[in-house]
Amino acid sequence: MRAQTLLVRSLLHYWRSNVAVVLGVAAAAAVLGGSLVVGDSVRGSLAATALERLGRTTHTVESTGFFRADLAAELASLPSFSEGFDAACPIVAVRGVATHATSQRRAGDVQVYGVDERFWNFHDRPVPELGRRDALLSEALAAELGAETDEAVLVRFDAASEIPGSSLFGRRDEAARALRVTVTGVLSPGDLGEFLLRPRAGRVRAVFVPLRTLERALGLEDRANVLLVSAKTREASVDALETALGEAIALEDLGVRVRGVPQAGAVQLDTTSALVDGSLQKAATTAAKNLGLRVGEVFVYLANTIRVGEREVPYSLVAALDPASLEAVAGVEVTSADGEPPPIVLNEWVAMDLGAVPGSRVTLEYFLWHEDGRMETGSTPFSLAAVTPLEGRAADPDLVPEYPGITESLRLADWDPPFPVDLDRIRQKDEDYWDDHRATPKAFVPLAVGQRLWGHRLGGLTGMRLVPETAADLGETRGLFAAALLAELGRRGAPPGFAVVPVRQAALAAARGSIDFGEYFAYFSFFLVVAALLLAGLFFRLGLEGRLRELGLLGALGYPSSRVRRLFLAEGALLSGLGGLIGAFAAAGYAALVLWGLRSLWAEGLGTRDLDLHLGVASPLLGAVGAGLAALLSVVWTLRSVQRLPPRMLLAGTLEPWVKPTPARRRRKLLPAGLTLVALLLVAASGAGAVPQTAGFFGAGGLLLAAALLYAGRLVAGRPSAAAAVTSVLGLGLRGVSFRPGRSVLCIALVASATFVIVAVGSFRREGADIEARDGESGGYRLQAWSVAPLHHDLTSAEGRAALALEGVALEGIDVGRFRARVGEDASCLNLYQPRVPTVIAASPSFIEERRFSFAASLAESPEEHDNPWRLLEREVDSEGAIPVIVDASALTYVLHQSLGDVMSLGETGVRVRFVGTLAPGLLQGELITSERHFLQAFPGEAGYRFFLFDVDAERAPALSQDLESHLSDFGFDVTETAERLRDLHRVENTYIATFQALGALGLLLGTVGLAAVLMRNALEQRGALALLRAVGYRRAHMTRMVLAENVVLVGLGFLAGAVPALVAIAPVLLERRGAVPLALLASLLVAIVVTGALVSWLAVSYIRRLPLVESLHAVSE
């Protein structure tokens, strides 16, 4: 007989215990591999969902403004486009809210798309027939509104005017645009119903309306703000598309107007925003210089009053000109003397009206619009430097850009400006001037003075004049200049205001970088895997202990111990390998089960049901190899411990000899105390913030668990003193745990591991929040609101409320936090995708000083920063060009995958942020928070306030919520209770916790199996003694009591060894969250364990009853 034959015979003969070992390893491999498959599946499903939502879109061309819809066709016709791309399609995409016209049911965060047949053709879909007022809804939106076909829906969306609301001529009271449409159909996700350019979890609420209809609602014609582009290959680059875009784009698409002004003999450059920003100014200057054009710079502002003494002229436009232009207008050199008011030039008309002569003191009064929404009247004295005739360059209405509501008015009295005007002040002569000269400026000041008084962060000029040095054809000059300007603007990447976004690639990256479920399930399955491996090891050990005599015999027959070890190792390796292999297949089943749970039981928390199994080879294989190797290690360890026994004991089949305590063993007794001490120090350090909470929890938890198991081991192996002899059947049962202390400790370890996971993880559950606490999860705010259209006025000031028609809303005494917002992607745990450009909000100086919410960590250095970490937002832009931001700790770690101090680039915005502080998880989980100053620098185009928080008491909250929504409905003002938002966030966390608890419960199940196996094995080995007990009068009830007692001790010790370390380890978290010991969880767990213990006891008692009494005595004695 060869060694292999012996191996095969042994494997077959001991098939029962071998099958148990294989199943144990298979369970571990299935859990480990399955966890990784879950990760693969979540990533794969997220990617599939994101790609389905994109349709054929691979890239987008996005603009902050609106461009010609024809740009798509022009772009598509270019050879540079056709090389890598095959289609482009214009759409209008805006965000809004939708309301059912009848039921008034409301849905926020709605994607509003204006599309035409080009959209459906682009995606190779049949073109639906849509009338002018027809709309298609996504399933989610239809469901939320309860909207059926032929029912009316009101859609409100933001339509920021091209002139910035933060400038004097911008519309601040402009509400969201509204469109009443009739639902003609509901689109399923497969029919592009959930079309979405930025991946995010959850169903998409979308409405598709005809492009022309949406354009009209926006006051536009043949305009779009997004081009969808489809690449031919994956290699098609952003650079290639930017190059093609540069070729196709026209100045009109950039909101730049260039026209000839014959009476001025110049080419005029201005913009639809009425402001020329720095980059455009620079490009225009360069282009003009290259063409030999002289550059004139203009900044126009409105003076409410031009006053000399008691005489005044109302509502006059004032032009601030560069020195050369000012001199040309004045006819003399205009200089300012030190200590004197700045110079001003008036035209004859106004000078005469005011009776002003050179040297007169002229006072200008004007409105100043502050960023925080306040408007005040400013006044500056000037010294009249010259009076210029109302002719030539001084009679040029084209210096003034188009101001809607002003420049197109036929009469002065018809003005409809975005600021208050007193029409009673307008005289007939003013109307006459307007009739004759329209918006021609009446006064001229030096450019530097005008910029100082009225300059805007978005641009220091309202227009530019490009003057040929010699007489030239203005049409030709205009064409040359426009071409040169375009070339200059397209020199670096996408043109200003445009961004080319590789949306497909970004979606795949967002899916890959999402919350790594594989990692989390592997982490939290760790105890389950350990439980399975312990079980496999236990079965292997039980099998080996049943073969002690065989081990002894082989030794007695002269087998070297190494040979014996190899033989048994080969068995173990084969069993581990087989278990791993089976586990690899079972991994798919485990993953499918978890995914089913995520899709059904826990779908509410995760916000998606679109999770499918994505099965590869690598993950199951990795699980199989990992579990197989771990099992083999367990086999080696078991074999070593058994082989240490002397041959005579092995031959006698005896285990666990009495070992005289040695100094080393006595020292080992100190180990649990040492571990406990270190763990408690870790807990204290974690509580004091010296050690990260996670490290503190896992470190202390692991050490305490180990210490608890050592204590338990000592307890079960303890020697009874003669005086403490058992006096009852229960006592005798308790003594049963000492029969095989090693096995008992394994059982305790199985139950303890599962209990530890369930209790520790369960303690992180969040139920409700203290809304009143300013340093709590809600920051003390009871209501929060998002506005589709930004509010420029201050809700808390009387004038702000008046401007917003909120006089009837009781806002007195309510602390309102208002935040500017650049709406991007959700950075909260509600979003399974990794956001590329998260939403950024701006904290006002007053909010910073209020010290609301709690900080988890910060980069505070100075005492002021330590005292109030919000002040970190006041730090300057750092050397890496990053602005300071504060973010929710959970979002930073789990959603953004960044750390405190890291710098992150916000996608195509070009903005870089540094995380200088983290908030304890709470209300502001979805946003990055910076200061207003940094926000305005980073996102100069974002005007007004979109996000609001209200610190209001519970009694006033419902009425306030209703009033605000009703009064500000035109702005798409959506108010929710912060408790509701927190509940949503908690639900996600609690979902994760529930899944991990379910894994813990599986661990408990494995523990139960192990416990049953141990009890039955113990009974089998003690069958003689048990039979003797029955022989001397022990009845079934006595046996049951004994088994129960043993069981209670094992599961009880397991429960305590798991629960106590868990509670101690999480104490800092409980204290921080003002949480209580999860008594309900502990109680329910105890019930589960009692039920489990009862089940196991029943199994063991049944087994013992089936042991034949006489044969048990006979088999050994005869």
């Binding site: 020697r719 001397v1032 009845r1035």
Partner: protein, 221 residues
């Protein structure tokens, strides 16, 4: 008095009835002893198990102190065994997790009105020479010592009947002699009826009444 009358035992097997004991009868009073010998498979242990009420007879009666235990209900039978019968087997069947004292006390834990069993157990262990080893575990005892614990356990409730199945079978000669000495000393002192089945000629020679089981019948030697 132990009275065994026309006791028979057979098992049903696929090959038909397998007779083990046939018409076995004898009587023993308190303080008397009987040694039963016979080859392997002769039915010695079966007879012992029937006497100990662990196995019912096919025919015949067994009475102890005038009571037929096989007429008792299951709980009564367990109580009967607990109080009236003591067992010593070839294997000691000690509970390895319990101390010497605890092992001796195991029958007392299910006995009613057993009195001061602690004192009784200590006395018995004193008599078998293990009074210094009360807290020791079985693993720390020699084979002879373990069997002495088993003997003390069998006598702790002062049974009328002491049944021993190869009590010295696993022991060396010296230990076997010591255990046998104790066995006789104790049963005499306790005035129990001692029934021993053994292969050991050395042990059997100590008995006045020795009988052999041959073909299921009990014959005097």
């Amino acid at each position: 008095m132990l009275k065994v009358d026309a006791l028979s035992k057979h098992y049903e097997t696929p090959g038909g009835l397998l007779p083990i004991l046939s018409d076995v009868s004898f009587m023993k009073d308190a303080g008397e002893a009987l040694c039963i010998m016979g080859p392997s498979g002769s039915g010695k242990s079966t007879l012992l198990h029937i006497l100990g009420t662990l196995d019912p007879p096919t025919a015949g009666t067994v009475t102890l102190g005038g009571r037929d235990p096989f007429q008792l209900s299951e709980p009564e039978l367990a109580a009967f065994r607990n109080r009236e019968v003591g067992f010593v087997f070839q294997d000691h069947f000690l509970l390895p997790q319990c101390s010497v004292l605890e092992n001796v006390l195991t029958p007392t834990l299910v006995a009613n009105d057993a009195g001061d069993t602690q004192t009784r157990a200590r006395e018995l262990l004193d008599r078998v020479g293990l009074d210094e080893r009360l807290a020791h575990r079985p693993a720390e005892l020699s084979g002879g010592e373990r069997q002495r614990v088993a003997l003390a356990r069998a006598l702790v409730l002062k049974p009328r009947l002491l049944l021993c199945d190869e009590p010295t079978g696993n022991l060396d000669a010296a230990s076997a002699g010591a255990v046998a000495d104790l066995l006789f000393e104790l049963y005499t002192r306790e005035q129990a009826i001692l029934i021993v089945v053994t292969h050991s000629a050395t042990l059997s020679e100590r008995f006045e009444d020795r009988r052999r089981l041959t073909d299921g019948r009990l014959e005097a030697t």
